[in-house]
């Protein structure tokens, strides 16, 4: 009986892992974020996001793996604006992962919430289950006006119609960093060696990315900030993104 309970407990663990290999984590300081959206374009450039066109936008079928959400507070003249970048939270207890009937999305050993485009059959259940609404569906096969296709990143697959996609924490960059680390005497990836496109572009350095299993990493230190919180924490999805709320002087 006790072994059964133990088995059950281990099953409850996020992604079945006793321990993550790396645990990629991001912190986003809302007090630094100015809503400039450099990250949004950086992501579009890095991850081959389609140019969907005006009509598709009007049908709210845009694809932006990271978007800025806007929230107003108060009324004129005491009105305030709050920006919050919203991207896949790489939840450790991700609602989307249980949804997929074909395992196109699952938790991997790095604490990442994967999305395997070529496995996806397009039931879109994951998008319904995701409380952060950061999963985007390819309603059509998008094309690029020649010669814009020359810009496409060869490290990232171009998705076809009927496939779900979302932020991967720039897995292609993580893979390259790991690849380099392996070449370099099989060492571990160092702090700051890999950052996703959004973090790299952020002009106010509001975003910090790293391995939270490494207590010395910058991201581990940022996570200890008393302003830290997770969006919709009450849903118990255990996101890998820690936001730092706005402070007051």
């Amino acid at each position: 009986m006790s072994t059964f309970v133990e088995k059950l407990r281990s099953y409850r663990k996020p992604g079945y892992y006793d321990e993550f290999d790396y645990h990629w984590t991001m912190t986003i300081d809302l007090d630094r974020c100015t809503g400039c959206e450099a990250c949004v374009v950086a992501c579009q450039a890095e991850n081959n996001l389609p140019i969907v066109g005006e009509e598709r936008f009007a049908q709210s079928r845009e694809i932006k793996w990271i978007r800025i959400e806007r929230y107003w507070e108060g009324e004129y003249p005491n009105v305030k604006m709050g920006f919050i970048p919203m991207l896949c939270q790489q939840c450790d207890d991700a609602p989307c992962e249980t949804a997929c009937p074909v395992y196109a999305t699952y938790h991997n050993q790095d604490g990442l919430n994967t999305q395997i485009y070529n496995r996806c059959i397009g039931t879109r259940t994951c998008a319904v289950y995701c409380p952060y609404e950061v999963r985007y569906f390819n309603w059509f096969t998008y094309t690029w006006d020649e010669p814009l296709e020359q810009q496409l990143n060869p490290d990232v697959s171009v998705r076809e119609k009927g496939v779900m996609e979302k932020c991967t924490f720039c897995i292609q960059r993580i893979r390259i960093a790991k690849d380099n680390a392996k070449d370099d005497d099989e060492r571990r990836v160092r702090d700051g060696e890999v950052v996703p496109a959004c973090v790299q572009s952020c002009p106010t350095e509001a975003m910090v990315f790293g391995n939270s299993k490494d207590p010395g990493s910058k991201v581990s230190k940022m996570m200890k900030n008393p302003r830290g919180y997770k969006v919709l924490e009450e849903l118990n999805t255990s996101p890998s993104i820690v936001y730092l709320t706005k402070a007051h002087s």
Binding site: D21, N108, T114, I171, K182
Partner: protein
């Protein structure tokens, strides 16, 4: 009239058998195509022989496929590389295939080699990691050194990749994001 099911089924026997033969034929045809008629061994623009180069002249693979251990792509040698050696080999200068090579070089044209081993665009395979892990080229490509025309000896399937990753206990080798991203 009989109410026996077998009696009732009798007229269907021949069409059913014919269909069965047809289906067997389909499978045989598809198998034959895959084995003998497919693109496993395409005819290349120059009749290049790996046997002559690798076995007879003992040139190691990475002498020509120079990027194999440093980049994802093994790389076909540039035309300049081919001509570089052949310039200094007067014995074979007049061979018909060498003349073709010379013509490409004269026109500064690349040689349109046909891919023998190809994976879909959503598979991000890297040669470097496999070479660095100590795999011999032959483990996937077969004994290319004995082939006059390169033939694909394996059927590249996901389970084939995964089986090897499992057997060799590749670190995170069964994470989908190892190859698909």
């Amino acid at each position: 009239m009989s109410i026996s099911v077998l009696d009732a089924l009798r007229p269907a026997k021949k069409p059913a058998l014919l269909t069965l033969v047809l289906v067997i034929g389909l499978f045989v045809g598809a198998w034959v195509h895959g084995k003998y008629l497919s693109d496993r061994s395409p005819v290349q623009p120059i009749d290049f022989s790996h046997t002559i180069h690798t076995t007879d002249n003992e040139i190691p693979c990475q002498h020509c496929h120079i990027y194999a251990d440093t980049t994802p792509v093994a790389g076909v040698p540039s035309v300049s590389k081919c001509i570089g050696c052949h310039k200094s080999l007067p014995d074979v200068r007049e061979g018909p295939e060498i003349l073709k090579l010379a013509a490409y070089w004269e026109n500064r044209e690349p040689i349109p080699w046909i891919k023998v081993h190809d994976v879909p665009d959503f598979v991000h395979f890297t040669h470097k990691r496999h070479i660095k892990a100590g795999l011999e080229c032959q483990e996937c490509h077969g004994s290319v050194e004995t082939m006059d025309r390169v033939t694909r000896v394996v059927t590249i399937r996901m389970s084939w990749c995964v089986d090897c990753h499992t057997e060799k206990e590749v670190e995170n080798g069964r994470d989908c994001w190892t190859c698909h991203k």
